[in-house]
């Protein structure tokens, strides 16, 4: 038991290192939970730990990765035994350790993906990692690579033939294909994860769990830098926009309600005084009418920062109720109003797509020109910035060494009630190379917003107390 206990504590410690808070009370809970469940069942141990220490769904992936490392499903290459249980698979390993032909394995993988049997797929992943994933890095030392496996099997290229089989003669191009595609994609991703997890397990046996667990953990989507986010990260972020907006809105209304309220509500006070014999002991007040600012967003949508601009625009529109008016302007080297694409109740992602194809954003060569864009903005839309406006500029201020339009920006900032520049670059890089950040920072407050967490903090600061 003591060995298990040490393992548990080391595992919980690894969670802490990965950024998941585990309190002592939770350690005690998980220890008690271990006593209550069937320890021979690995999955139920996983669920028990998850119930005790995992308090946020976003941490789930990290938790699973580390759990697989600290409580591995198998030790060494116990593949042969596993295959004996299954006559179908047995013939493929040849018995004498000779790796089978990749095309045979691909056929097998295709069949497994078609069936969708998770258990078989997992055993297959274990076997192929053993066969294909190994590389002798130094004499006597082995290394394991998931890309070797995935490259040789390349499951994505099986898509066409899998689709064919799943659709079984149904019409292509419609709903049925979409649904089938979705199912296959899910299974392929599952297989890739299995392979990666298996590779981590083999590596951990070689180099020690601590070493591997340090590198295995991916940052959470909300902490991924906008500038480095992959397509998957951005999709995940976009999915979080509405929950995030809702969370922010709830917090803001709560804050408003807590603040000292406004004029005396005579009717409610008198009504409440009846309970105390007509003496108004508790007074009731009307809530303050919340002050709602107008928001004007001016954003750089050129390639490098488009992801950031899109996410921020989506958030601004999801928070529409918190403002009297939201106007959006986009620019690359010239500026155009894009408010018209964002209709109430409409789809923001569609609006963004329409915006990039229909709005007049390019004037000269399609490289960012902040100076010209700011001048155009000030000239064409003089009514966009007024004394009630909060002006937000989004962009990395990488100006290709062109004129900055600093003076015009200074005037705009003076006209606005608040003005902020959100910069997705780390503050350390501001002013380096063709970045005009330092010039702009002289006239406008520049805020570093590299990830969703920082953006959330900023929005809370922007909105009225």
């Amino acid at each position: 038991m003591s060995g298990l206990l040490e393992r548990e504590i080391a595992f919980l410690d690894a969670l802490r290192v990965a950024g998941i808070q585990v309190s002592l009370a939770e350690v005690l809970d998980s220890t008690r939970a271990m006593g209550a469940i069937d320890l021979m069942d690995r999955e139920s141990l996983r669920h028990a730990f998850a119930a005790c220490v995992l308090k946020r769904p976003a941490h789930r992936t990290t938790f699973d990765t580390l759990f697989d490392l600290w409580f591995p499903p198998a030790i060494g290459d116990s593949v042969a035994g596993e295959f004996d249980a299954d006559g179908e698979l047995l013939e493929l390993t040849d018995g004498d350790g000779e790796p089978p032909d990749a095309s045979v394995l691909r056929d097998l993988l295709r069949q497994l993906l078609l069936d969708g049997d998770e258990d078989k797929l997992r055993r297959f992943a274990r076997a192929v990692v053993n066969d294909l994933g190994r590389a002798d890095s130094q004499p006597g030392r082995q290394s394991w690579f998931s890309y070797r496996v995935l490259r040789q099997l390349s499951p994505e290229t099986l898509m066409a033939s899998l689709l064919e089989a799943l659709l079984a003669g149904q019409e292509r191009g419609g709903l049925a294909e979409r649904v089938a595609r979705q199912t296959i994609n899910e299974r392929i991703r599952q297989f890739q994860e299995m392979v990666e997890s298996e590779v981590r397990r083999r590596l951990a046996e070689d180099r020690g769990v601590e070493q591997v667990s340090k590198n295995a953990v991916q940052p959470l989507a909300e902490q991924v830098d906008f500038l480095r986010a992959s397509r998957d990260d951005m999709a995940e972020l976009r999915r979080q926009v509405f929950p995030l907006a809702r969370r922010l809105a709830t917090r803001l209304t709560a804050r408003r309600r807590l603040g000292r309220s406004g004029r005396l509500d005579f009717r409610r006070t008198v009504r409440a005084s009846l309970g105390t014999g007509g003496v108004p002991i508790v007074t009731h007040h009307r809530p303050h009418k919340p002050h709602k600012p107008e928001l004007t967003v001016l954003c750089d949508v050129s390639g490098s920062v488009a992801g950031f601009a899109h996410f921020t625009l989506m958030l601004a529109y999801a928070l529409r109720e918190q403002f009297t008016k939201v106007r959006a302007f986009a620019f690359i080297d010239t500026c155009d109003e894009v408010t018209r694409f964002f209709t109430p109740g409409g789809d923001v992602a569609d609006a963004l797509a329409k915006m990039s194809s229909e709005a007049q954003l390019v004037w000269f060569d399609g490289h960012s020109d902040y100076g010209h864009s700011i001048e155009t903005f000030a000239e064409k839309y003089p009514d966009a910035v007024g004394p009630r406006t909060s002006l937000l500029i989004l962009g990395d201020a990488r100006n290709n060494y062109r004129a900055t339009g600093q003076q015009t920006l200074r005037q705009l900032v003076q006209r606005a009630r608040h003005a902020y520049w959100l910069n997705p670059e780390p503050a350390a890089y501001w002013g380096s190379g063709d970045s005009a950040s330092s010039q702009y920072a002289d006239v406008i407050e520049m805020v570093e917003v590299r990830n969703a967490v920082q953006l959330e903090d900023f929005v809370q600061r922007l909105l009225p107390q």
């Binding site: 005790c52 709903l175 649904v179 199912t183 999709a235 969370r247 709830t250 709560a254 789809d347 569609d350």
Partner: protein, 288 residues
């Protein structure tokens, strides 16, 4: 005072499915632990995945009474814990004869008789098996969480005039939350945590089949796969199990036995509740 209701994880599974709730391993293990360790269980997840239903089914499965505290903005002590029935107290004072001394009346007025029990106190005082459901905890104000802490960690309530009331038999406590706001660390630490997400295809199909037995198995499979494709789109509100079940009912009511494009197009309103989601699904699934 800790009296576990379930013998094993398998027992949880069996009895919950007898009560009409199909679990998976994660749910069954967590419920089992909540029962065994005597800790409250916090269930989070998107709307319509069966958070409240789980608590109800556990109550049915163990034959316990369900006491429900629905949280809302402005919920306070007087609605959650207890309240003094001051009208009755006033009557008692007015009805007192001249020779009653003040001390006597004072003691008398703050007696059990004048206490109005609210859900939390009721659940603590019961001697029969009880399931306490604190629904939509995130809707309540932050102060309410503070009020829950004593109940959830020690299963006791302190009433200044009466003293501390401790549970004679621990109720099984379920808290649900839609995560509209982050609950406090203190509250989370006192609870076991279960994140209920959309189920995998197999379980969702089984759920649809058990809730809408009239639907053909093949149609249920089609329906579940379509719903999963919809969830993969970036929608404002992804359809949840509740919507899948509604959809199955709709298809049965319309007498459709296969889910082709026309059928999806006609009944999409059952699963998607935003006009923009509707358009988006129609274009991406090429329904037009």
């Amino acid at each position: 005072m800790l009296q576990p209701q379930f013998a094993s994880v398998a027992d949880v599974k069996e009895r919950l499915s007898a009560a009409g709730y199909l679990t998976d391993d994660a749910i069954a293990t967590t419920v089992f632990l909540a029962d065994r360790l005597g800790k409250p269980l916090l269930i989070e997840g998107p709307a319509g995945v069966g958070k409240t239903e789980l608590a109800k089914s556990v109550a049915t499965a163990i034959g316990a009474e369900l006491i429900r505290l629905q949280c809302y903005e402005g919920l306070d002590e007087a609605r959650a814990l207890y309240e003094w029935n001051y009208k009755k107290q006033l009557l008692r004072i007015q009805a007192s004869k001249d020779d009653d001394s003040w001390d006597e009346i004072h003691d008398d007025v703050f007696a059990e008789e004048f206490l109005l029990s609210r859900p939390l106190l009721t659940a603590i005082r019961r001697t029969e098996p009880t399931v306490l459901l604190i629904d939509e905890t995130d809707k309540a104000d932050v102060e309410v969480e503070g009020l829950l802490l004593e109940v959830l960690s020690d299963f006791q309530i302190t009433i200044p005039e009466l003293g501390t009331i401790t549970a004679t038999r621990r109720p099984l406590v379920f808290l649900t939350s839609n995560a509209t706001r982050e609950l406090s660390e203190a509250l989370k630490r006192r609870c076991l945590y279960l994140h209920l997400d959309y189920p995998d295809a197999e379980r969702e199909k089984a759920i649809v089949l058990s809730r809408v037995p009239e639907v053909a198995e093949q149609l249920a499979g089609q329906l579940v796969n379509t719903v999963r494709a919809l969830r993969a789109l970036e929608l404002k509100k992804s359809p949840s199990i509740a919507e899948s079940i509604d959809w199955a009912r709709t298809l049965v009511a319309l007498g459709l036995d296969t889910l082709d494009e026309q059928a999806v197009k006609d009944t999409l309103g059952v699963v998607l509740k935003h006009a923009s989601d509707h358009e988006r699904a129609a274009t991406q699934l090429k329904l037009n």
